[in-house]
């Protein structure tokens, strides 16, 4: 811990305004089919970004490209200003500690209990004692609104909504700065979905998270998101607030926000 590298790094280091996620000229192809063509997207720090698009518009492919689960055909993905492809193993691990992911089905480890699931990233990445990891896991579970009675259940014994909450608690385990959510409210009943929206909003306020959220849920867009990125025509056609998007003249966006469901969600949000 000498002083020299610190100063050097400080000179080279991008300032705190570096966007957590920056996608430039992304191209993704499946055989002949092009999913993304020159896609650009930036997520600003502290922003809650909703990503919408029709079925098959490549929302999950985009998420996988950002997470490094899929190798993009062209273009680059920067996380906190670093190209994820050129990183060494240990640099990657550090980056992964700063991000959390909630997968669509929760992706809980089926052989572990709820408490062990949430504690897994902590045991993996920190030198904390087992007892303290359990306490932290209990705190994260409380954060997502589940009680202690759920601690020793197995994922197979949980309902869909609980599974998502536990998935969120696990994503939050290392106090990430950047959280990816893949359709967090899909498959939840309206009451559960509204509660989940509220939970996400409260958590992002208390913890100052940056959120990248794929969603189909118009209510979520109105209730939670600062900005919405619209995926259509193989790229991000617009990134703006919901109100601005309502005024857009892109045909797909018009249909999306001004269709019957969009209007109902807008009415619900303004009430």
């Amino acid at each position: 811990m000498s002083a020299a590298p610190r100063i050097e790094d400080a000179a080279a280091a991008p300032d705190a305004d570096t966007p957590p996620v920056e996608v430039r000229g992304l191209v993704n192809r499946f055989g002949e089919r092009t999913i993304h063509e020159n896609l650009d997207l930036t997520v600003e720090r502290g922003e809650i970004l909703g990503v919408v698009g029709g079925s098959g518009s490549g929302k999950t492919v985009l998420l996988n490209s950002i997470l490094g689960l899929r190798q993009a055909d062209e273009g680059e993905v920067l996380l906190f200003g670093q190209d994820v492809r050129g990183l060494s193993e240990s640099e990657r691990a550090k980056l992964e500690r700063r991000t959390g992911v909630l997968f669509q089905q929760g992706a809980l480890f089926s052989s572990l209990t709820v408490l062990e699931n949430v504690g897994a990233p902590l045991l993996e990445h920190t030198g904390l004692t087992r007892d303290f990891v359990d306490e932290v896991a209990a705190m994260k579970i409380a954060m997502v609104g589940l009680g202690p009675e759920s601690h020793h259940l197995k994922p197979a014994e949980l309902s869909g909504g609980m599974r998502k909450r536990v998935g969120l608690a696990r994503a939050l385990a290392l106090d990430p700065e950047l959280l990816f959510l893949d359709e967090p409210t899909a498959g939840l009943d309206p009451i559960g979905a509204a509660a989940f929206d509220e939970l996400i909003r409260r958590l992002s306020e208390s913890l100052g998270l940056t959120l990248f959220m794929i969603t189909h849920d118009l209510d979520t867009l109105y209730a939670v998101c600062d900005k919405v990125a619209v995926l259509a025509d193989r790229r991000v056609v617009e990134k703006a607030t919901v109100q601005e998007l309502e005024a857009s003249d892109h045909p797909w966006i018009r249909e999306y926000f001004l269709g019957p469901r969009g209007r109902a969600a807008a009415a619900g949000a303004s009430r």
């Binding site: 705190m139 409380a142 197979a156 913890l207 100052g208």
Partner: protein
Amino acid sequence: MPCDHVGAHLGPGRLRDGEALCYEGLMQAADFRIVEAKGGAVLALSGDWTATALGRAPRRLARALQGRKLSAVDLSDLAGVDTVGLLAVLRASDEPLPAKGWSARPEAKRLFDYVRGLEPEKGPPPPRLDPITRSLVRIGQGVFDFAQEMTGSMIFIGRLVMALGAALSRPRTIRWPAWFSLTERAGMDAIPIVAVTNFFIGAVIAFLGADLLTDFGASVFTVDLIAISVLREFAVVITAVLLAGRSASAFAAELGSMKMTQEVDAMQVMGVDPFQALVIPRLMSLLLMLPLLTFVAMVAGLAGGVLVAWAKLDLSPAFFLQRVTAYVPIQHFWVGVSKAPVFAVVIAAIGCRQGFAVRGDVLSLGRRVTAAVVHAIFAIIVIDAIFAMIYLEAGV
């Protein structure tokens, strides 16, 4: 690399007095001091109190704070902080933390209040029984499971016979495309592995026979040994064991995952009998292919024997084949082939039965696939032994 690890929620408040950003690579380990001041002890936190930098600090802090009353906290040296670090501080002492001193870091105070507000409680661990009761429970559970498994198998066999009867009485209901594709996958694609394995088995028997029988000057009987053992036992048993590993597992995994994705339920509500659609084609394809594969195995095993006899004993292939046709009765061939259909039914039935027994979770899928292979191989060996006794009594 820049580490705003915690900076995201703490904002620029962390950049004090020209201090550079904290770097992930240069993360400072969490540390603390307890300073005795006039008004009482002051807890001074330093370094990063974050999940990754915490290490053993929580335990040390708890030990240091035991029986101590704090009057204030000093956060002037605190670098980064997150909810995990603050939970460690909160949990370190039973005494409530003093309100004094937080003003240096309002964000940390806010986060601390949030953590304290959660009142995380640990759930009671599931009750653990004492060892004696536990072992009794295990024995009871084992007996019960065995009985259930037997009942399940009986029900399965009953349904299988019914479905087979229905299929045979109305051949139009047989699903030919499924049958053909399964025949290719479970049968044709297995030819190379079956042939190669049996070739080596034949060769090994030939080596053994040549070695032993030459000592008695009866090396020519090596031919009889190879022919009888390959035709009667090895070809069919080795082929069946290979198919148990190849097809019983595949059937169990296929049907199991179809069960997990509710495909089986979808069939049922459509009025399609899953037995007709899934089990019968698998059963029939093995019923057709296992005897044929057994024949391939016999040819390959004899070829292995011929090669070794030729190389080691100088018995020409022509002599070998002439001796086989002249001195080895054809009944050995029929004994071997007659077992094939029985093994086919056993493999298909056990594979499908275990597949249908899969419940919702991934673990049960793994368990059931393992069970399918193990049960199938076990059944093959036992049934082969029963056949051996029956044929022995019958003098075949």
